[in-house]
């Protein structure tokens, strides 16, 4: 479930890379060809986070939690975008780091139990 | 409502809206009730299961009725559509007959 929530944050930060918000969020990364790919990457990450949620043992509750975490993540992106775009950009790095950490921990945990 | 086009204030307009509102409100309930009744009698499962499924499905399809009532090309068309669907569903329910 942790992996799901984290992938989530990463996902939304990027699904937000859509047309009108790109300049604000991406700053000097703003290059036309990259921006066009962002929606696809964004949706890909969303799907990945859904898969991560469904793979947990208590998947029904994880699924409900996923649906709940969605507006939360989206809201955080929206607030960051509106009030502090630079902080929003920085948080993408943080979210990505947490996602990697989450995946690493669950793999380590699996090996401990195996 | 000031600022709205003048054709939105005549009696023809009000009648249009009124008929659609009645069709929408009454029609939604009637269609939902008939969907529940028709499915409860015709779904191929145990009685209580059919009732559960029928009621859930009735609520699921019901929002389509007010959307139709207001998007149909004219208020009489809206009413006709709802009446037609209702008659069809009532027929299915009646033909289904009460399960033993």
């Amino acid at each position: 479930m942790i992996a799901a929530a984290l992938l989530y944050l990463g996902m939304f930060a990027l699904a937000s890379g859509m047309s009108r918000h790109a300049p604000a969020l991406l700053g000097h990364w703003h290059a036309a060809d990259r921006v066009a790919q962002l929606p696809r990457i964004g949706w890909g990450l969303v799907t990945l986070s859904l898969a991560a949620a469904l793979l947990t043992p208590d998947w029904p509750r994880a699924l409900v939690a996923w649906f709940g975490a969605a507006p939360l993540a989206a809201g955080i992106v929206l607030l960051g975008l509106t009030f502090a775009p630079r902080m929003a950009r920085a948080s993408v790095g943080l979210a990505a780091a947490l996602a990697v950490l989450g995946v690493g921990l669950s793999l380590a945990g699996a090996r401990v139990y195996a | 409502m000031a600022g709205v086009q003048s054709r939105h204030r005549g009696w023809g307009y009000r009648g249009n809206v009124a008929l659609r509102v009645v069709t929408g409100i009454v029609g939604t309930y009637v269609v939902a009730a008939l969907v529940a009744a028709a499915l409860a009698r015709t779904l191929p499962m145990a009685r209580v299961e059919a009732v559960a499924a029928a009621t859930l499905l009735a609520f699921l399809v019901a929002p389509a009725v007010p959307v139709w009532a207001f998007l149909a090309r004219g208020p009489w068309r809206a009413l006709a559509g709802v009446v037609a669907v209702s008659l069809l569903l009532a027929g299915i329910a009646w033909l289904g007959g009460r399960p033993a």
């Binding site: - | 000031a2 600022g3 207001f70 090309r73």
Partner: protein, 498 residues
Amino acid sequence: MSAIRDGARQVMAWLHGWTGLLLGWVLFVMCLAGTLSVFKPEIGCWMRPETVATADPADAIAAAGRWLAQNTRESTGWYLTAPDGRMNTVEAAYSDGGTFLYRALDPVTGAPAARETFGGEFFYRLHFELELPFPWGRLLASLAAAFMLVALVTGIIAHRRIFKDFFTFRTGKGQRSWLDGHNALGVLAMPFHLMITFTGLVTLASLSMPWGIAAAYGDDVLAMYHDLTPGIAERAATGTKVPLAPLAPMLREAQRRFGGAPVGRVYVINPGDSAAVVTAFRADSGQIGFTPAEISFDGTTGKVLAGWAENRPGVQTYNVVYGLHMGRFAPSLTRWLYFLGGAMLTLAIATGLVLWVVKRRERAPLSLGNRILERVNVGVLAGVPLGCVAFLLANRLLPLGTLDRLAVEVSIALWTAAAALATGVALPPKLAWPLLLGLVASGCALAPWFAPLGQGDKVILVGNLLLLGIAAGLAALVWRQTHPKAAPVRRRAARATA
């Protein structure tokens, strides 16, 4: 061509506005009360700070049963909810000589809690009964939920640029900002809003849409209930008085048959009669589906009469739909997400109601109808929260021994809300908004300080922090309302040149 507006999206937007407006105030009350009900057990704990004892669910129910047996007369039924990790008292709804009462019972002594209050149950009942007599409250709630569902669907159809606008929120631009806020609150949590509205409609279906039952069962509604929950044994009272057998062994047997899962609800029908039946339900917190299993015992001997663990797909689907709305399955984080979703829906309704007025005011001076509407908006949107805060303050300030304390707390809440509504209608909005919201903020800021603070209970602490947070947020809002900013234009120009 007799469409009401040009274009399907405009028609849907028009319908969205009206379905939202007509029952918007009712929906605001329902959503606010519903959001608070997510934490019904915790609110109950906050409102009964003296009652700290805990006990095993089976023992607690047994203690409650002993007290009820001694203190009720000619009861047709006791409807008990066992304590769990979230709430330490037994909630008892029972009939005593014809009237229906509600009490929270101490889990060790079985006697009513020292501080008599409805607790979270007040918000729960307000949510689906709107403090109106049966069946009108529930029917109104069903109607409002149906309107809400149509409002959601028409809102979705009308919002073509749903994803392009997904992250847009422009502040300080009058109607545009309110619209952005309303859209963001609605769209961001759309799956939650659709789920909670649809499942809510379904929970009241036996009252509002009984036609499936009527078509398949005719008049024999009892047969339907028997088919739905075969584990509930039904039989008529005989009139012969026989004392009830001890409850604890029955409940332990039930838990054993539930595979170790705890008991949630316990219904004792016709206690003290020779045909008494005790039905134990498996706790709803173990899985999403509501009412997953039940077992009935003969009240006088403890012999098992019937038992059932739900495994039929159709009924399970219904139970899951019901359970999704009740949210009792949710672990802590998900519960807070439900609260967040509910808060967003409540605010979406509030911003929608405000938007109706703001949008029309920017087009032309308000008509009389809309001016009245604006004032009622203030009264309701600020008054209902004020009523809720008054309920909490009354809980803290009313002396413990007050006669009929439960009803007095509720009366205070309702009268406060009514007074606030009247104030909102009487005063111009510029005055009424900050006044009423300021009162809510003050109330929230005051409430934490009246209880025995030193109890150290985590729930009370979190509740108090939440109240203080709300007070701070509202105070900031009131500040914004009374000190309007002229700065934005200047700031934008400054940024452009930077």
